[in-house]
């Protein structure tokens, strides 16, 4: 039996997604006054169900950096390019971004709480309940 169960991997993926989302939201808020800027968003790959691109690089050594869609990251950043919200081509909706910022922050804290809870129960088992 594995000591570190799948829960850790799942939580780790969710934390990575959450911090990537925070980066995207920060960038959207930073560019709220930039003409022509299009808002960016992050989505899980399987949720996004996007057509996988054929871009693939040939690696001569397995330690080489891998390009293309087959990276270990479970999320993907994309640009919302088909809408215009403002007169200058900017489509950042500041209310939506601030709302998502708050939501994402709470989600992140909940995930960290769960992670700590996992470690605590492991610790409890290791110490035999003492």
């Amino acid at each position: 039996m594995k000591l570190f169960s799948d829960t850790f991997t799942t939580l780790e993926n969710a934390l990575n997604y959450s911090s990537a989302k925070n980066r995207a939201i920060s960038n959207n808020i930073a560019n709220v006054d930039t003409p022509g800027y299009k808002a960016k968003d992050v989505a899980f790959k399987d949720v996004l169900a996007q057509e996988r691109s054929s871009f693939q690089t040939k690696r001569t050594n397995e330690r080489h950096f891998q390009f293309g869609p087959d990276t270990s990251e479970s999320y993907r950043t994309f640009t919302k390019s088909n809408t215009t919200y403002n007169h200058n081509g900017n489509n950042v909706d500041i209310d939506k971004e601030m709302n998502e910022l708050a939501q994402n922050q709470i989600q992140y804290q909940a995930l960290v709480d769960r992670m700590s809870g996992k470690f605590r129960s492991l610790e409890s088992v290791i110490k035999g309940g003492n």
């Binding site: 960038n27 960016k40 871009f55 293309g68 960290v112």
Partner: protein, 150 residues
């Protein structure tokens, strides 16, 4: 990617919004400056309204790499690329007693509209506040991350 990426992103926006505020202040302060620059004829010209041009920071190596890999990147903030002068013609006011009045009694005054500058300042203030909130959110997330396993 650095863990402080999102804080740096917001910081770049804080700098840009502050610059916008500075420029708007300068415009309001010079709303009546009739002698700002000397033109090629050796005559004084009124102050020209200035504007800040914003651009997302996207021309760095990291972003091109992400683009080539078709991964998309979340970008790295905003930057003020130039301060441009407003090419609108100067306003003309009839005031024969003014030291810079022409022979017909008209004075050229700056093409600054104080109302427009006030709106710009309000907008800069709000954007600045939004970015401060964003910095605080990133900060509390990082602080929370330090609690993992504690």
């Amino acid at each position: 990617m650095s863990i402080f990426h999102s804080m740096n992103t917001s910081a770049s926006a804080l700098t840009s919004q502050r610059l916008r505020m500075d420029v708007a202040s300068s415009n309001i302060a010079n709303a009546n400056s009739t002698r700002a620059t000397l033109n090629e004829n050796g005559e004084w010209e009124p102050y020209r309204r200035k504007m800040v041009v914003f651009q997302p920071v996207e021309n760095n190596f990291q972003n091109f790499l992400h683009k080539a890999a078709q991964q998309g990147s979340s970008g790295s903030g905003v930057e003020a690329t130039q301060i441009r002068e407003d090419e609108e013609p100067f306003k003309v006011v009839f005031n024969p007693n003014h030291p810079d009045a022409g022979e017909d009694g008209y004075v050229q005054v700056p093409n600054v509209d104080p109302l427009q500058e006030m709106v710009d300042m309000m907008s800069a203030t709000r954007s600045y506040e939004a970015n401060v909130t964003s910095v605080n959110a990133s900060k509390s997330m990082l602080m929370k991350a330090l609690e993992i396993g504690r």
